[in-house]
């Protein structure tokens, strides 16, 4: 009989304890942890692995990144210019296949040439649109200014 009443009081006590905890949150509207994503965006951390970016003007065309990539994301084609230096004419990164392992960034011998941006919104309507084109093209790089390269990239449908 004592156990009967003890069970009853225990259950009432535990139910009230639980309800006390929930009402603390229930009455605390305005302290939601939800982030309304498209309206308010989370600031990614400094070393966040977002979209890959290449500073094509300092790229030496060594193809270290393309060779170390485990999923063959990087397509790199180089030609020698008149100074006998390697110039990357095609530098495509297929973001749809990238696994964000970071091996290419580690392999790149030039500082701040190939690195991850903190950008993470680059969805597209087709898989081709996910490929970013960084290559300088077949035309000699001396005749180009960076702005013109950008417009040319847009024509090709690069998503940046």
């Amino acid at each position: 009989m004592a156990g009967y009443f003890k069970k009853m009081f225990d259950s009432i006590r535990t139910v009230l304890t639980g309800m006390g905890i929930t009402i603390k949150y229930g009455m605390n509207s305005g302290k939601e942890v939800t982030q309304q994503y498209p309206e308010e965006k989370r600031e990614p951390p400094e070393r966040f692995r977002g979209k890959l970016f290449v500073d094509i003007n300092i790229c030496t065309g060594c193809t270290a990144c393309a060779r170390i990539c485990p999923v063959d994301v990087i397509t790199l084609k180089t030609v020698r210019d008149e100074n006998k230096k390697l110039r990357p004419v095609v530098f495509d990164i297929d973001n749809g296949r990238c696994i964000y392992c970071g091996l290419c960034v580690e392999a790149c011998p030039v500082d701040n040439c190939l690195y991850f941006e903190t950008k993470y919104e680059f969805s597209a309507y087709s898989r081709e649109d996910l490929i970013s084109h960084f290559g300088l093209g077949e035309i000699k790089p001396q005749e180009h200014k960076p702005e013109e390269i950008k417009t040319e990239d847009k024509k090709e449908g690069a998503v940046k």
Partner: protein, 372 residues
């Protein structure tokens, strides 16, 4: 409303018998339409409130996209449910399957009829109001079993059997605890019960405070009522982690929505019954004694009545988002080993109290000390 009807009928006494019948039917249809509209609007906002309360308790936001503060979410949900494919399983018992949601919804809606919303507003002033509500809401369990059997699905059948076992079991503590309160006003008429609770600043003569037994009876009633409307922690008939969705597993679109709306309608009914019997119904607290125009009094009374109901519904939602689901054996143990004996004890205690103290409650006794 009945008085209004009577006035119209007496005014039209010159009309022929067929004309009079037509007018009565027309008035019935209009009042039913009004109550149905209010009930559906309440059910819409109740689903919104449920999701908002859940969001608050879980430190989320809840619906906030459709309309201001997401208030029109239920419209979007309704349109979505209307556009869903209406599936009747090939091996289902078609008549039972089709009839079940309508019977569930009709039974749930019919229980709105005898409620007394204020001094003069009620659809039908039944002299057996409480009995009527208990009886008509029991029809739900039959319809649930119809739908469960008609679905020809093992999860549905399990859910239906559980639902019937649960509802039939919990009817007993519900009725016994209601009786403990009902023997004091000695009436089954909703309006009479509320009128009995007038005075005492509109609070202290509530049947809840009449004697210790009715206080206990209220809690027994409320726990059993949550079980009767199949809400968490007593939602084993539709336990989604055990038996998919229980008795409405096979239902889609509006047929499913009928079950859903019936659940929220039942919540309203059990809360309204608790409000009427224990919490003083539409008695306005504190300022009830002040003279005021009739329309203002009626509006205030209806407001007080709905506020009390919504408070109880909020508590139901609060419990839902706090407690985990009971097992079947725990559910039966709670009903038969705890609630039913307590309810019997209450009934006997309340009867003895009424017999010995001649209908006087705790407040009457204390007030009597000062008068003498």
């Amino acid at each position: 409303m009945t008085e209004l009807i009577n006035r119209i009928i007496s005014g039209l006494s010159t009309a022929g018998p067929f004309m009079r019948l037509f007018i009565i039917i027309a008035i019935m249809a209009v009042s039913a339409a009004i109550v149905l509209a209010i009930a559906l609007l309440y059910e819409g906002f109740a689903t919104y409130a449920e999701r908002k309360v859940a969001g608050d308790i879980q430190a989320r936001i809840g619906p906030n996209r459709v309309g201001p503060y997401g208030l029109l979410q239920f419209v979007a949900d309704g349109v979505k449910l209307l556009l869903k494919e209406d599936i009747i399983p090939f091996y289902a018992d078609k008549w039972l399957f089709i009839a079940a949601p309508y019977i569930v919804f009709t039974a749930s809606f019919a229980a709105f009829v005898p409620l007394s919303y204020s001094d003069h507003i009620s659809v039908a002033n039944l002299n057996v109001g409480v009995l009527y509500i208990i009886a008509i809401s029991s029809v739900v369990s039959m319809a649930v079993l119809m739908g469960a059997w008609g679905s020809n699905n093992k999860w549905s059948l399990f859910g239906g059997m559980r639902a019937v076992a649960q509802i039939v079991s919990y009817e007993i503590p519900i009725v016994l605890s209601l009786l403990a309160a009902l023997i004091i006003p000695a009436s089954l008429n909703m309006k009479d019960i509320i009128a009995y609770q007038s005075g005492g600043l509109g609070i202290f003569r509530w049947l809840l405070f009449n004697n210790p037994f009715t206080l206990l009876a209220f809690f027994v009633y409320f726990i059993a009522a949550i079980a009767e409307v199949n809400r968490t922690p007593f939602d084993i008939p539709e336990a989604e982690s055990e038996i998919v969705a229980g008795y409405h597993t096979e239902y889609t679109g509006m047929r499913f929505a009928f079950f859903f709306m019936a659940e929220y309608g039942d919540m309203f009914i059990v809360s309204a019954l608790a409000t009427t019997l224990f919490l003083g119904g539409w008695q306005i607290p504190f300022i009830g004694g002040i003279a005021m125009p009739l329309w203002l009094r009626e509006v205030l009374q209806a407001g007080v009545f709905f506020t009390k109901i919504f408070f109880l519904i909020y508590i139901m939602m609060w419990i839902r988002w706090t407690l985990p689901r009971l097992r079947v054996d725990q559910l039966m143990e709670l009903c038969w080993k705890y609630l039913t004996p307590i309810a019997f004890f209450n009934l006997i205690g309340a009867s003895v109290w009424v017999l010995l103290l001649h209908d006087r409650g705790v407040y009457d006794i204390i007030a009597g000390l000062f008068v003498h």
